[in-house]
Symmetry: C2
Subunit: 138 residues, 2 copies
């Protein structure tokens, strides 16, 4: 369980002022590495922060992404999802339950950018999809 102090430190490293709301969102992301949606974050924090607004959650994640503190995933056609782990790893989304899982330990070559004169590439996203074991009934 990571603490609020660690969230503060991480936010400051990314030049983000640690307000109560921002710290709460960062704490949540650090402790729930499930690639949550805005709604999931909002609903999880609401009980302890009844005045929190969804707009603030949107604003907060926009800043986090802009400052490189979190990665926005484009893998789920329904909602944006957010990942606190910005290191090179891939994702798997289950077409049945919609859950997104991390895939680590892939060859590092997979994450290299092809050298193309037409584009300046600065990010890559590798997304696998299929059915997870839970949904297959094993």
């Amino acid at each position: 369980m990571l603490t609020t102090l660690e969230s503060h430190k991480y936010l400051r490293q990314h030049s983000i002022k640690p307000s109560v709301q921002r710290t709460a969102v960062m704490d949540y992301l650090m402790n729930n590495r499930t690639h949550p949606t805005i709604d999931e974050i909002y609903l999880a924090l609401c009980p302890n922060m009844p005045t929190l607004s969804k707009t603030t959650v949107y604003n907060t994640l926009d800043i986090f992404v802009e400052r490189g503190a979190v990665r926005a995933l484009v893998i789920d056609e329904k909602n944006a999802r957010y990942d606190i782990d910005v290191s090179a790893h891939a994702h798997f989304i289950c077409r049945s339950c919609g859950k997104v899982h991390d895939i680590f330990n892939l060859k590092s070559e997979l994450f290299e950018f092809p050298k193309l004169s037409r584009f300046s590439i600065n990010a890559v996203e590798i997304s696998y999809s299929g059915i997870c074991d839970k949904c297959k009934g094993n």
Copy 2:
């Protein structure tokens, strides 16, 4: 320029009845390999098919994807995009203009599925992002 006859043939190969609307959408996809959105397809076909509805474009693409005739891309957080080329290739999206480009000739290993006991993987999507040369001003 591919013809309506070729669209018919391709639709039949995928067990899709070639209605006037479906053929028009397929013709458009075959001749405009720009990963169009629903709206782009709809607006492009409207002049020649004033009675066309956007619902039909949605229905049509749902069937195409379901039957494996086109690929739905999850790369643009704003809209679904569709690709008639279902072979193994990657995409690049420009963060400035939003255009999606194909990247061919990558190593085939990139498109192999990792063997993981937890998931049954049946698709992979590799998406690069950055800035295209036009937007950089070259």
